[in-house]
Symmetry: D3
Subunit: 288 residues, 6 copies
């Protein structure tokens, strides 16, 4: 008999044979509003048994692809420095084996650990960023390592015009000003909340390796309430699904994360079900 | 003085005078994900006192029509066989008196009990099916009587091309393949999630007797979270209202059910209020 | 050191220097369905720390304007007569100082106290009314002072064709009939649920002083579930934001209220966050 | 067929044959903290189907006694004056038919309506009062009719040394001082929180007609969390059950109420189940 | 790297080396009140990471013993017959390997599947039964296989005077009468709710093989609210812990189950934490 | 007019005149299980309006004493080092003014910041520690600054036999072993869960300055569910109240904190109400 193994539904490949490695980064120590994203990975796996492995949108099935689910990293609490180190190391191991990492946050700061590893392998990394918040502060209450600063920290690594942000509808005036200079979509951040003209970006990005970071609060709170800082005025599910389909189809995706789902605020489990469905679509689109 | 009588608001006709009979089928024994639909009928009645009897959409009032509310059937738990028998018998009694049955589930399997009775009276019965899930499996974990198989069981009774499914966005590959052969809307199941071209169906259905089964999870989880297996990417309230209005206006409706509302997952009562409003619109449209 | 002061974020002006006075009217005694709106003001202030003071929609910041937050009025429970008197007195004091009052309900009846004061200063007052419910009953269960009658009571003060109602999708037949005679938007109440043709109203209203009362249940329950009587089929956040922007930009606004947020039904805090954002946009638009 | 009748379990006698009349008084307009007690009666009836009609404590069964359940009174909102009138009238009708009234609040103020009727028939009425709060203020925020004043109002009717309060552990200094003069148990109010020496009271009360009012917050919040103002340090279920058994057995009980259960704060239904069980024990003890 | 393995904390032995086998039976199809016990096993494992493996009560540690956690059985929904077969087969396999089974329900009916297997190996099996409900009905709404009948079904297998029930405080008159004849503790069922004289039972049971079934609703609802039919007047945690310690220490325990934890009613996770702690104590006491 | 000031009820003294300074330390970054204690202070203040200022237990009133409520410290997220510095500085300022600090956590690690300041003024400080958990680990997942290590860190400052722990019922074997050597109550930690013999400690402590740290999870989860890691088998409210009364009456208390209340897990507000009551009793006992 086998010990109890609990993976995301349909993701039961062995590590050696897998093309994609799914893992959780259960840290929410710098969450500035409502904490709880640490429970996202475990909850998403548990809820995934209510999801079909087959996507009628894509006519693909998780049963046909090879995903290894490594479970949750064991991360300390409080100080984010050792947390980011552990995420960095795990991501590095995954990509050194030529597998594609898919990380479940945790809060958005966990992206920084993964990006540090990605950039070592892909120095010309481009980041596509879906979010309600700009996350471009230089510091937050004196801290440089904060989920409110994570895209700024990533920019310090990848540089100007390598980050494309969509869905942004909250931030300080300074962040919006700064974005105009340094973020590809900065000049029209808010317009991107509702419009869907992604073709232009395809051409600009070309064949560059792309990391996609999805802060689930890019969705409207009606669709996805269970997040630390819900922001009215966001996307419907089909909008996010469309973007993911477009970008994954056209670009060279080398890593993905899905962050800021906070189970304690998911009073009826709808956000979990939605996160599961987004993850399924993502995984199916990442297969070669 | 009168004993405490609690009916759906405005549905206080005596049985003899009623054109429509409302009753509940509080069974959720084969619910594969989150149970609780057994409480739907009682909760809907209790919440209905917050609803107006008048519909400004239709300029009609429940006060003007004759609906008898028979309360909840007393159904056993566990084995679905005696449950379906009881639903069959009650439905038969209602239609033998030339009254139109409106059943509140419970889970979707309860539809089978009603359809068995309907087909005896209306051998050429057509079924219109609103749902997020295909419910077309031949069996589920070895069981033929499951809410995941209910439309397949109905098909065994009514046959090919007599079922129209709308809103379907979840199922196995086999279900979607099978639907192409046997379900009227099968070739374009997913397209029906968002488009609203119901005119064509009118003509195909003509004067045939029609049973409408509404699995409330056809609505988007943002609109209707309290259901056993919420599926992102569904309809807005106005979409469902529009469909109901169109079909009830154009077709010969002989029975209706409303299933899969699960009160334990209705943390703020919004799904109850929405179910009440759909039921009011339905009842007002069914009057001759 | 200072005592604990808790204002809505960014609203920390002193009374003397303020252009706008924010205050709460924590009364919900005539709420006919789910009570709890009494907690709205305190909850909105507490949740506002998760909101940015900057609006990227408007490119304005609460830091740049002068709002005094006077906290919650101390109101009795039960009988609404002394409650309305206290609201009247406070509003009168605010406007006699040439400050613009922004009141947080509480249930909708609180509007009556404010309107009584407003009309003394502005005899030609026009009322713009966003709501799911007509609130036009002459009495409710024998009571004239009820949240279900508040717009009727206001009409008794301002008279025919001075009230514009939008978003109304619930009421009795009598209310809808009555509205056709007395309410500017009465003939097409329901159409206003979804269409956005506000230009015509601008011209009709002209330079008259305008009081805006926003019953938050005008929003769809998916967007704003935490209200006493949720009504399916309402507005998205962007619809309400658009209306507010249009009217505040074009008209002579002299007072505003935001009512019927009921925190006990806000299971994940999303309605609080949405109310905060609407209030921020309102405050930013009211500055001259 | 019969219309849907929903009574408290086992309470399905006709009015004419009943010894006891159960009815609800769904008013919570003066609740000073968390409202919602208006929903108590409906919720208690709905939850009662999970209760056995048989009490093993008493070896009695609801099936053996005659209780008529009249449902909920239709009460207005806001002003308590007409509310108390309706309760008074209904109670008067019940007792004029020589039936024993058992009222489900609602908030504690509803007791006043019943007591007004009781005293007309029983001028020497004694009141036994279980509560966490003294409810002896002369007014609360300027209002005489408040749940915080209800025992003071009753005292104005029955006079000194006719009220026995038990379980009191909250109030102002003035209330505790005042009680020493006017309330039988006033000198040792707090001691009665934990001790169970009711024998002495039996003798003092003798054959006088007794009305028992049970504010369910007399129970510890761990046992009964769903009440408007929970007070730590209260009774276990067995303590309250013991008191009820003792008093109902030894005294001449002529009326009872059970107040301050607030369903919106009953997140898991445990308070409903506990209220049901207390009501069953009460009803079984009241039979002759 | 290893796939995600999620066991109850400290229960990570391989099957071959294990003395105890923990497994879940996620069925709740005959639950007559609030369903949801199907989620118990998964929730208990997920919550167990908040528990210490060390028990200061016993000065023992899960790290020192060998428990294999086999996860959840895959059980069908609806009809209980195949469910009980699967539980029977798994239990049989476990005990045929001379390992001690510890089953996590699910509802109480699952006990029947295990007992059927146990009795084959241990024909003189004694059952110790902790519960709030007698579970001695011969049928419930026409069904013989119901959680309300499970102890009656077990009695049909083991016979008179082989079952000891404790904590029972709810049932029909018939059940209590019947118990006096057939259940060891039947004559004083209710007394066993509060007294703790287990010594006498030790002697009567002697060396017979004992199966312990713990319906967690034996605990007071204040201590353990998350169960389908909470019954006021139950045990404190220390009472149950004491009983478990006494019996496990003195008797020859050959199997155990823990049933009726229903996660959807565990609004703050306290019942999960309590179930984890009881399970830890149980496991530590079962080691030889 | 005054800006909105929200203090704990009855705590509205000015700083200069105050004997006691109440303040919040909203940090929960090292919480190892369920975060949310950051919201404790704000929630406790908001809920305190439901509490009487008068304690009938003590016959004292908050109106008679002088408490300044400084609100919540503005603390960063993530790294605990700057958090502890800010708490240290504020505490130092308070005690340098000869005022007694009463801190509301936040998680338990905040105690360390206060103790660092206290020991500078009172080198012979004694710590009385109420808790379910030993909090004596040397590190937790590699971190020295963790709520699971906070008493160990305090011990490094005050040394052997200066800490008295009560209520401890959870920890590793190592923690319990270690406590026997270094913690006054270490040899009988578990016995202190239920017994109440505090007299002996009085004599040992004598006139030494005493800091009391109350982790609210010392209470039984039935009484206080809203905490990060609930532990069955704890104290009733009256037990904690008794201890507080005894120690505050007999000893020289120089500072107090109340930690680990986590509002997101307080589904019905009962834990807030209980925390308020404990705080009131504490404040009333601390007055000279």
């Amino acid at each position: 008999m086998n010990k109890n193994i609990e993976t995301f539904i349909g993701c039961d490949a062995e590590y050696a044979e897998a093309d994609i490695v799914l893992f959780g980064a259960p840290y929410d120590g710098t969450t500035s509003n409502k904490p709880g994203a640490r429970f996202a990975g475990k909850t998403i796996r548990a809820e995934s048994f209510g999801l079909e492995t087959y996507s009628p949108y894509l006519d693909r099935d998780l049963e046909d692809i090879k995903v290894f689910d490594g479970g949750e990293l064991e991360l300390p609490f409080g100080d984010p420095v050792p947390v980011l180190d552990k995420i960095y190391s795990y991501t590095k191991k995954v990509i050194s084996g030529n597998k594609l990492p898919v990380m479940l946050g945790g809060e958005h700061l966990v992206t920084l650990g993964a990006v540090r590893a990605m950039v070592e392998k892909y120095p010309d990394l481009v980041i596509i960023h879906f979010d309600a918040h700009a996350d471009l502060r230089d510091e937050y209450l004196g801290q440089k390592l904060s989920h409110a600063c994570v895209i700024r920290r990533c920019w310090e690594i990848v540089g100007d015009n390598r980050i494309y942000s969509f869905g942004i509808r909250s931030g300080t005036r300074e962040e919006f000003e700064w974005a105009k200079e340094h973020i590809c979509s900065g000049k029209y951040l808010l317009e991107k909340v509702e419009s869907l003209d992604s073709l232009k970006e395809y051409k600009m990005i070309g064949k560059a390796p792309v990391y996609i970071t999805i802060d689930l609060d890019v969705l409207d709170p009606s669709v996805f309430p269970a997040t630390g800082t819900p922001e009215a005025g966001g996307w419907q599910f089909s909008t996010l699904r469309g973007y993911i389909k477009d970008y994954c189809g056209a670009l060279n995706i080398v890593g993905v994360d899905l962050v800021e789902y906070s189970p304690p605020y998911d009073s009826n489990g709808v956000s979990a079900a939605t996160a599961c469905k987004i993850l399924r679509e993502l995984l199916l689109l990442l297969r070669k």
